[in-house]
Amino acid sequence: MLQLHDLSVEFDEGFQLKHINWQIQQHQHWLITGANGAGKSALAAVLAGYGEILAGSTSSLPTRIGWVSFEAQAQLIQAELKKDDADILDVISLGTPVREIIFTEEIDPVIAGDLIQKFELDYLLERAFRKLSTGESRKVMLIRALSCHADLLILDEPFDGLDQASHTMLQNHLAHVVTHTQVVMVLNRFDEIPDFISHVAYMEDGQLRHQVKREDTQAFNELYQLLHLKTTHLTVPDADADHKRPTLNPLEPLVKLSNICIKHTDMVLIENLNWCIQANQHWQLSGPNGSGKTALLSLITGDHPQCYTNDIFVFGFQRGNGESIWQIKQHIGYVSTALQWEYRVGTSLANVIISGFYDSIGLYSKSTDQQKHIAQKWLALLGMEGRGDQPFNKLSYGDQRLLLIARAMVKHPPLLILDEPCLGLDDINRQLVLALIEKVCAANETSVIYVNHHAKDRIAGIDHYLALEKSADNS
């Protein structure tokens, strides 16, 4: 069993892998994935014996390795170029021909010959290796790795630069190879993941963050979405141009709460609170349980009955003057655990997103083609493409939360209220949610009010803070 035990490794560029604990059993085929710069290739290189071990240990590293990677390819090309430089004779070097590069002593000529045919490289055998195109030299690397009877094949982005025919050929060939050779593959695109992969390792910041079994479908899907969010250049889909709401006066604050008092029976929850939220400010609201965070927010959303007994100015309305709550809600996107509890409807994923245009729980209006199109874009953004018709109530808790965040953002509201959006989410889903929120903050057309307990869940871009305290007679 191949084992990395609390291993920290440093590479030339100063990049470090930290505290890696990893076991690879025989007959397992792993995929290493993660965003750019997360340490995927570095982890694979450790298996090939590269890097300077700072701490920890390895055991049972394989002796004969077939390694395909951009780095290995670069090394080989570098070496070839050096040969050229080293030529002190005034003769133009022809470089090492491909045939010599492939047929070294550790190579099985039968397998290599077969692969040369399959990759249609015959006509290149006499050409200088350094003159090959990237795709061609990649094929040479693959043939070497696959023909050396390796104990372990490390395939770091093996499909990069391959044309479609070669890609398919390689997939088919690998399906055969894995019956007798262990494979560790590095990919940053999940959609290329071959069927034989049994385990996935997810890297982030030089650490091995998640290890997931392929058969654990739910964890696998979540990892897929996380990777998708981290690696795709996220563009928040446009709002629906046909779904207009009144423009707000830019000179007025979005929300102005004056001398707020919230009382329950004989208990005072909040007293004499003032809060003014200007457009494009991002706020973090914190406070212990029972300090009235949610009650305060529901004064803004119009869900608290005492919003009619307080001095509240929201989106151009002084509350209690004949406005309806729907005129208020059209300016707000809202996510909370309570909303998720209330959102117990058998509607489809696409309809949940579209319901954000109407501020409803469930969809009761006929949606337009434009809105359906926008919903599809959001689903794609969340890594749930093609799942628009699935029922919402069958989704995992974390997926539901993501969808409700999309619902809150779909209309690009001036104010987005996220009341403990990460509550009850596991690590993967928390990172997903935070990644999504950061995208919104950065887009800068929505003011965010973010409520949380965890200092860890800080959001880049938040610059204003309001901390509630538990009132004295509320203990």
Partner: protein, 491 residues
């Protein structure tokens, strides 16, 4: 003493009023709440309907306050707390009624006469008085001052649902009507529509009806299929299972949750779908049982409808009101003492399908009750749309209350009027079905048919399926559920 309004009308008008019911189109509500904008709405009573309708109306931008009797305010009764803790202005009749443009009477039926008598003299010239049930006007013959507009807006769901659906951005099906004798300015319909919009009802569907059609169909539905049949059925089915030596906890659970489960199928696809949930032999069995039940119970349904139409029911009940509710309270206590009511549901697992398979008789009872109520109402001149809403449509709502806390919860949730009618029905129906029940065994209630052979005769199955699908309640049901499904996507 009261003077039954319906009985003062000539037959021609009686029939015309009974036949009023029309499903309104969404585009009839484009003016929203405009007709009520800036008007002072004062609600009398702050129970579940009063509070929740008021919350919705206020959130729709309308000016709502509550008026309660002085004693309720001084003693800080629950109704006072409900209103004041939600930030509403609360005042006495004298303080608030004279300023009101529209007075919403949301008190229980029983209080209507004294309440209306007290507020009417205080109401300003040309104001509007709104009811959510027409009993006071139709059965008690209350005469309203000629300058006042009288309308009815009746959400067809419990108050808590009225609020919950509004908050979701939807509403509950609502019935509206204008009392034609009291529409001096001709704006009764505009006010009723705006009120329905204010509670969110227009999103779920609004039925335009008449005070008379509402009262006569509502009374009929609630005392027969909705509450009466479920109560009688619960008691008979439970006693039969115990009699046959079945576990009491299982019997209790099968019934308590069984009504809700089987009528859920009714809600989605009518009687046909409810029966389609059974195996073929069980379906034929349920069909045969229900045919038998319909023959036995038809005279009882006719009697209830006749007594409702001619006013016998309401005068009997009002006599009990005058007698301190002796009958109502006695029957309520007796229901609490029944074996079904006193046996807690067991903690065994019963699958959704098992409720159908082991509850064939319950399915037969629901089918018989729905069809009889519908047939009797339409025969009395009530239009099919009304009859559908007051029978099939509301059955699952009542069944839900039994699932919560058995008959106690059902009778506590429904109005005193419905409860009174329910007991009347139950007392007549129990002895009526005594002989029928002698022939019943656990194959149709409690254990299900022996499952070794699911074979049926083709011709018989075709006959049964055709009979189910051809019943008139299925045709109107399919149409109305279609309207609803266009709007309502909630499960």
């Amino acid at each position: 003493m009261s003077n039954n309004y319906f009985n003062t009308l000539p037959l021609r008008e009686q029939l015309e009023q009974l036949a009023k019911c029309r499903f309104m189109h969404m585009n009839e509500f484009t003016e929203g709440v405009d007709a009520l904008k800036g008007k002072k709405m004062v609600i009398i009573g702050c129970g579940a309907q009063g509070l929740n309708q008021g919350l919705n109306l206020r959130d729709s931008g309308l000016d709502v306050s509550y008026t309660l009797r002085q004693s309720a305010i001084t003693e800080k009764r629950q109704s006072f707390k409900n209103a004041s803790e939600n930030g509403f202005t609360v005042g006495t009749y004298e303080e608030l009624i004279p300023k009101a443009d529209i007075v919403l009477n949301l008190t229980p039926d029983k209080q209507h006469s004294p309440v209306v008598a007290a507020v009417m003299p205080l109401m300003k010239q040309g104001a509007c008085l709104s009811y959510s049930h027409g009993f006071n006007i139709v059965e008690e013959g209350m005469k309203i001052r000629e300058d006042l507009t009288v309308i009815m807006v009746a959400p067809k769901c419990p108050g808590s649902e009225v609020r919950a659906e509004y908050v979701r951005g939807f509403g509950v099906p609502t019935l509206i009507a204008v009392h034609e004798d009291n529409d001096p300015q001709g704006h009764g319909l505009a006010l009723a529509k705006a009120y329905a919009v204010g509670t969110g009802g227009h999103k779920a569907g609004v039925l335009m009806s008449s005070f008379i059609a509402e009262v006569k169909s509502d009374l009929m539905g609630e005392q027969t299929i909705l509450c009466g049949m479920l109560q009688t059925g619960s008691l008979l089915c439970f006693d039969k299972m115990i009699d046959k030596g079945m576990d009491a906890g299982y019997a209790s659970k099968l019934i308590q949750y069984g009504w809700e489960t089987i009528t859920e199928a009714l809600k989605y696809g009518g009687v046909t779908n409810m029966l389609d949930r059974l195996s073929n032999p069980a379906k034929i069995k349920a069909f045969d049982l229900s045919e038998e039940l319909k023959v036995i119970m038809r005279p009882l349904y006719n009697k209830h409808q006749d007594d409702i139409i001619n006013g016998t029911f309401s005068s009997t009940m009002m006599a009990d009101w005058a007698n301190d509710d002796v009958n109502l309270l006695g029957w309520r206590a007796a229901t609490g003492e029944t074996a079904f009511e006193k046996t807690p549901a067991g903690d065994m697992e019963i699958s959704e399908q098992e409720y159908f398979d082991h509850g064939i008789l319950m399915v037969a009872m629901v089918k018989a009750g729905v069809e009889l109520a519908f047939e009797t109402m339409t025969a009395a001149g009530i239009i099919a749309d009304s009859a559908y809403y007051e029978s099939l449509h509301e059955t699952p709502l009542i069944a839900n209350t039994i699932a919560r806390k058995k008959l106690y919860e059902m009778n506590a949730t429904i109005s005193d009027t419905a409860e009174y009618g329910c007991y009347l029905y139950n007392h007549a129906c129990l002895p009526l079905l005594a002989d029928f029940m002698k022939g019943i065994d656990t194959d149709v209630i409690g254990r299900g048919l022996a499952s070794d052979d699911n074979g049926v005769d083709n011709a018989r199955l075709i006959e049964v399926n055709a009979a189910l699908r051809d019943h008139p309640v299925e045709a109107i049901g399919a149409t109305l559920r279609g309207h609803m499904a266009d709007m309502k996507k909630i499960v």
